[in-house]
């Protein structure tokens, strides 16, 4: 994907980093039908989201078509400081992927 599909905001407070991320993705379940053609729209959804900080995987999520379009994922972790970098990446069921880095603020 050429365009950046991930938006992250990471904030550190009291030693705990709160990460909020938004990914742009259609998240098709594969069960929906195209109203015009009556054909099924093929499944297209993010399967895996991984977040790394300080060289460690702090969170890895397995997603399905049951997650809303343009998924929002938020989580918290400790052990990082302001100014540290964190990386978030996703892989979808059609083999596309994207990743981005953000500074913890």
């Amino acid at each position: 994907m050429a365009k950046k599909s991930i938006k992250i905001r990471a904030k550190e407070k009291g030693g705990v980093v709160t990460v909020k991320s938004l990914m742009t993705h259609p998240m098709e379940t594969g069960g929906r039908k195209d109203k015009k053609t009556g054909k099924k729209i093929p499944a297209h959804f993010i399967q895996e989201v991984t977040c790394e900080a300080g060289g460690k995987t702090v969170m890895s999520g397995l997603l399905s078509g049951g997650v809303s379009k343009n998924p929002y994922v938020s989580f918290k972790f400790s052990g990082a400081k302001k100014g540290d970098m964190m990386k978030l990446s996703w892989v979808d069921n059609q083999g596309n992927s994207d990743s981005t880095e953000a500074k913890i603020g």
Partner: protein, 156 residues
């Protein structure tokens, strides 16, 4: 999720070697992604999904798991769910919508330092329970909350 796989994925040769393997027709792209528990994500019942994903469907109900979800969701396509828990040693948080065609929605493995908190937005086909299953210290604990859906979000 096995940690070995993590290490493997991280390995610098993983990308290159897998690319070669795919190119040589040794691995189809589907096999490369085989680690994604397909069976669990296709299971039609919550119990089956849990078995496929976490190896067991025995979970004890726990009030230490808090689910924040609307009582009534006007739009089933976007139902905000927040699961938080003060339990220690949390390994994973799994979110399921019991009445969805495919109940298993998402599962988050928490690594070192991660807090027992996950928030996301899910689709719900119809009114039903949102089930959160937390794996902590090798045990499964769950809690549920009913969400009424006025317009379903699965299917067109």
């Amino acid at each position: 999720m096995s940690m070995k796989r993590r290490v493997f994925l991280k390995g610098s040769l993983a990308a290159g070697a897998m690319g070669v393997a795919v190119g040589a027709g040794l691995l189809t792209p589907k096999m490369v992604l085989a680690a994604w528990p397909k069976a669990a994500f296709e299971a039609k019942s919550a119990d089956e999904a849990l078995k496929g994903l976490l190896g067991s469907s025995d979970s004890s109900s726990s009030d230490d798991i808090k689910i924040k979800a609307p009582d009534i969701a006007e739009n089933g396509a976007v139902v905000p769910i927040t699961v938080s828990s003060a339990l220690t040693g949390i390994e994973s948080i799994t979110i399921m919508a019991a009445n969805n065609p495919v109940p298993l929605v998402a599962s988050f493995s928490l690594g070192e330092g991660a807090q027992g908190f996950v928030s996301t937005r899910i689709k719900m086909g119809k009114t039903g329970d949102v089930v959160a299953v937390v794996k902590a210290g090798g045990k499964l604990m769950s809690n549920r909350k009913e969400v009424k859906v006025t317009i379903g979000g699965c299917g067109g």
